[in-house]
């Protein structure tokens, strides 16, 4: 995982998302989810390439069920782009890099 990627928990979620200056792409994932593993390296790349434009954070749904429940995550991987602390875009399911960049870009850059 790239060093620039933050890990969010039930405890840190509100503070990190609420105080973020850049749009934050939150990756809802779990250890047991194959497609989550497929997109992890792509998100690492995006975090590096778009540093200074967006930030990328990971939220393990096993460890942070409250947050997953609050945002009604029913399928992983789910990516939610937060702008000014509010969800601005939801991307459900694993996708290729170009598609992810395009969908994130619709709201974030």
């Amino acid at each position: 995982m790239a060093e620039s990627i933050t890990t969010l928990t039930n405890e840190t979620f509100d503070e990190v998302i609420g105080s973020a200056e850049l749009p934050v792409v939150v990756d809802f994932w779990a250890e047991w989810c194959g497609p989550c593993k497929m997109i992890a390296p792509i998100l690492d790349e995006i975090a590096v390439e778009k540093a200074g434009v967006i930030s990328v954070a990971k939220l393990n749904v096993d460890d942070a069920q409250d947050v997953a429940l609050r945002y009604q995550v029913m399928s992983i991987p789910t990516l939610i782009v937060f702008k000014d602390g509010e969800p601005a875009k939801r991307i459900v399911g694993a996708k290729g890099k170009q598609q992810l960049l395009q969908e994130i870009g619709e709201v974030a850059f």
Binding site: G34, M38, I42, M74, S75, G96
Partner: protein, 333 residues
């Protein structure tokens, strides 16, 4: 590029690779392990991440415990097994490209393979030998609401999504091994799992049937098909119809998992490679050879009968050996 040195006899011509492998399930990655160890410096175009169609690592990426792959007495998680396959191929110098093939020109050898813009005049890669291992993907129901509700209660991946249906009543549609595996797995979370099947008996293997029948959280709705799925933001119920009586009814579930079978990923090869009526590629008996010189097929894309990880891996090995012998005999590389 590969780090493996190539003997002079196999040194690629300018810009023409020895082997390109299209697809990265058990078949493609086994072909990669064998051809990399044979110093053929294979390029594996492994596909693009997806939760619904073909994807890197193949169908096992959407499964949980694999109990019948030899060498793992305690079972192994599907995604973990495929990550090991991939690492093993990379260890011998297989090059991996996480992208989708958009077009092929099999009028060679050498053959052309495109990634990205399929209308580009020149192929992105050229290779003497192409190993096709694009596998198969889950069939969908073909309902209008499907696209809207996928990931919102409708799922093709029990391992990915089962977790979110804790203490809820959900349904699985299908009657084969995948359906039984999903239903059994989903009882870890759900309070009740209804299996909807269009016949009055299952297609699944005996062991999977026994396991499902013995599970008191699983109930069966025989002779029924899914007519429609309800819900705007998320799935709120499904409409089923009894195919014997014609009677329609509403099933009050919050989730529906689809496991109604597979179709081979052969659209890419239409009008180039010979296909059976059901879409699966045709190979010569006891071989991975196709009708086209230098093109080999292995795994589920050409197997509509066994469709197991271990048979796919076995046929991937055959394809690599067939390709290696063909490259030698044709004096290519």
């Amino acid at each position: 590029m590969s780090t493996a040195p190539m003997p002079d006899a196999l040194m690629a011509d300018e810009g023409i690779r020895n082997v390109i492998i299209v697809g990265s399930g058990p078949a493609g990655l086994t072909a990669a392990i064998y051809s990399a160890r044979a110093n053929l410096a294979p390029l594996v175009i492994e596909g693009e991440p997806s939760s619904t169609s073909d994807q890197p690592g193949g169908q096992l990426m959407l499964t949980t415990d694999v109990e019948n792959y030899p060498g793992f007495p305690d079972g192994v998680m599907g995604p973990e097994l495929m990550i090991k396959f991939r690492e093993q191929a990379q260890r011998f110098g297989a090059e991996m490209l996480t992208d989708k093939v958009t077009r092929v020109d099999l009028s060679g050898p050498p053959h052309g393979v495109w990634v990205g813009d399929p209308d580009a005049p020149e192929p992105t890669y050229r290779a003497w030998a192409v190993i096709v291992s694009t596998g198969a993907q889950s069939l969908m129901l073909g309902l209008e609401a499907e696209e809207r509700l996928i990931g919102h209660g409708l799922s093709t991946c029990a391992t990915c999504d089962g977790f979110f249906f804790r203490d809820q009543h959900i349904a699985v549609v299908g009657g084969g091994d995948s359906a039984m595996e999903e239903a059994t797995f989903l009882t870890r979370f759900a309070s009740k799992v209804t299996v909807i099947h269009r016949r009055d008996e299952l297609r699944a293997s005996k062991i999977m049937q026994d396991r499902a029948f013995a599970n008191d959280r699983i109930e069966f709705l025989w002779n029924n098909v899914v007519l429609d799925i309800h819900g705007e933001e998320k799935l709120t119920g499904i409409e089923v119809q009894n195919v014997v009586t014609g009677e329609a009814s509403l099933l009050d579930v919050t989730g529906l998992f689809i496991a109604i079978g597979h179709r081979p990923n052969t659209d890419l090869f239409e009008r180039q490679l010979k296909r059976k009526e059901n879409g699966y590629l045709v190979t010569e008996p006891d071989s991975s050879r196709t009708e086209i010189e230098g093109v080999f097929a292995c795994g589920d894309v050409q197997d509509d009968f066994y469709r197991q990880a271990v048979t796919a891996a076995g046929s991937g090995c055959m394809a690599a050996i067939d390709a290696e012998r063909w490259l030698e005999s044709a004096g290519h590389g």
